[in-house]
Symmetry: C2
Subunit: 397 residues, 2 copies
């Protein structure tokens, strides 16, 4: 995308390694992968909102008919293929990608299988990074449904993998959310191992909040546009209220989608805490303010699709807020519709343009690149990620 000599880094980019797709194909409940007549690619079905459509399509299939409407989204080569990821990076002039397993990760595995499958998936990512040495790093997946000792030894293991720079985490934790005290040893271990947590949504909000017309009329817009960022906001606010950031001061988190809605709501959170009779009498307010957490333990990606949101994200992240934001694409989600998926993706160019616009950065001339705004843009587009996640790898063959 052309940012002078600065590296462009994509820290929000997912893959489903082939082994993971096989697991999804074998499942009978969400998440799952299914093939239908009349559809070239198999369908990836992740959201509970898609259940009615799935049932309809499977009924049609069992009658030998072509379903009129298909659940989920096409599971294209973009999801599993390393060469497609590299092609996508070339197309958008992305120098380095920090890939992660896409939602819902390993949240649905049995306690026995979670450990070995996590190890094997993380080995897959390690191999890809090794093959594209210096271009790829990854956030590892944790076997959160396994017993605690398995989770802790998995953290220990991934901390030693040369291309691993953190872990990707959903909002369910051990099943009771991220404010669960049982997670504290895990947060401590991650902080100790200096592994960034990339917090990412998957579960959204209960379907009832979208109302009776949503499934039929609004596609995936409500659960994706609102449910996802609201889920992230709720999860991290619960962690904050539980005192996790006070108790694990070395914990670092990267929040997907510029923190969901946290930058916008931080003031209201602070006010509601200040005015809450229960917290007032019980004396259980968090020690750090939400603004302190935002400017010291939280990093935000720049996947917010507008300069309005991006400016608020920078502004919420403190005086040096521009050093805490990192560009991302959310690839392979949000492909262009009705045009070539091998070409440029609008979802990517929007986020790049929002970064430039947020800093009022106009051009490509040398003096503009050396301006304060130019430096901030290059920081968000890649410099921050290289620094914060240490994205250097010497001795690549």
């Amino acid at each position: 995308m052309g940012f002078g000599d600065g590296k462009v880094v994509d820290i929000h980019t997912h893959m489903y390694p082939p082994e993971y797709v096989k697991i999804l194909e074998s499942r009978t409940t969400m998440p799952l992968v299914r093939s239908f007549p009349g559809s070239e690619d198999p369908r990836l079905i992740l959201l509970d909102t898609e259940l009615p459509l799935l049932k309809e399509a499977e009924a049609a299939k069992s009658r030998g008919e072509t379903p009129t409407s298909l659940p989920g989204r096409p599971l294209t080569k973009h999801y599993s293929s390393l060469s497609q990821k590299m092609h996508f990076m070339e197309t958008h002039e992305i120098d380095i990608s920090v890939v992660s397993l896409a939602n819902p990760w390993l949240d649905f595995l049995s306690p026995e299988e979670a450990g070995p499958i996590a190890e094997s998936i993380n080995a897959d990512f390690s191999r890809m990074c090794e093959e594209k040495c210096g271009r790829l790093f990854f956030f590892a997946a944790l076997p959160l449904t396994a017993p605690q000792d398995v989770i802790l030894s998995s953290i220990n293991h991934v901390a030693g993998l040369p291309y691993c720079r953190g872990v990707i985490l959903g909002t369910s934790g051990l099943g009771k959310g991220l404010d669960d005290p049982e997670l504290l040893p895990i947060f401590h271990a991650l902080a100790e191992a200096k592994l960034m947590i990339f917090l990412h949504p998957h579960y959204g909000l209960p379907n009832e909040v979208w109302g009776p017309r949503a499934t039929e009329n609004y596609g995936h817009v409500l659960p994706l546009a609102l449910g996802f960022p609201m889920e992230t906001t709720i999860a991290v606010t619960r962690m904050y209220l539980a005192g996790v950031f006070d108790q694990v001061p070395q914990l670092n988190m990267l929040l997907a989608h510029s923190g969901g809605t946290l930058p916008f709501l931080a003031g209201r959170i602070e006010s509601c805490i200040l005015h809450d009779g229960h917290l007032h009498h019980a004396g259980t307010k968090p020690k750090k303010t939400i603004w302190e957490v935002l400017s010291s333990q939280v990093y935000l990606d720049a996947v917010v699709y507008s300069d309005v949101g991006l400016k608020a994200a920078v502004h919420a992240s403190g005086p040096d807020g521009h050093e805490r934001l990192m560009f991302g694409t959310d690839h392979p989600f949000f492909p262009p519709l009705g045009s070539d998926e091998d070409g440029e993706w609008e979802s990517v160019t929007w986020n790049g343009a929002a970064v430039k616009k947020a800093f009022g950065y106009g051009g490509t001339k040398d003096e503009e690149m050396e301006s304060e705004e130019g430096k901030k843009v290059r920081g968000v587009m890649g410099g921050n990620a290289v620094r914060v996640l240490n994205l250097r790898r010497d001795g690549c063959r």
Copy 2:
């Protein structure tokens, strides 16, 4: 709060007229008002999250004991007393208040009683405004649980009341949300009568999203700080996706709490619509972009408790965004804890300070007041409301 010769207007300020409190006292399900031994004021109990505490306190009361912990919040004189409202306005140098019935309005009334009770409550508000002529205006309450003809005739009635400047609306509509096509005649009637809709949350999100630790540990913080603004965002986005703003182009809405989270999420909403296969194939995208709606049919209050949120709200509202924001207090909610409720309220001064900070407005000198920033501050603090809601009343006795 001192803004030169500009009027300070509070457009987000609630009351429960005495008749409404009587209704709440007579109820056996939420919302309700209850008295308990050991508590000077009766308790106002609005949120479903308070049910466990209510049951506990009622059990203690029936055993003749003083409950250790009380549900809800104290129903102080601030909720019903006109003189207390005027005192609050004097304390904070508020010239004009546009009062509205507080949540949950008349949402819980039977179809038969809704019409007459709405008329009587709106008459109460009219009387108060008449008594404080020029200082008070109001948003009327609608009998939404009544048959459509009753609702339409109520709109017609309140449009003729001299101090009525709009209606306050929750998110449930006729019970199925604000994207319900049955609401269209009502939206058309409101647009025709040039009545602003003040959209306000009450129902929050289903309790399960707060997790098992919330009720005991976090007071009201999660449902109020997150549930309320998320509810507003969902409601207005559903209206937008249903094409209400396209179909009723004269409809004007004022969104509580600076739009909930809409300014921050507008970009993501736009992107999710652009990338949604279902909308793409069905051709059912809204005609106006969400940004067009934000800069033409939506107004935002300035009740967001930080300059971060406020700047985003201004920025999201278009090139003249500062003309679309209006100061509010949310009185009588969020009183100061542990200090004198008759004095200054921090929840008010925070929002006033955020307005000044958002525009980088420093001082009180004449030249500063005449600066561009000074004019914007005075607009948000009152000038916009006077203009948009026509808050003038000649011939006061």
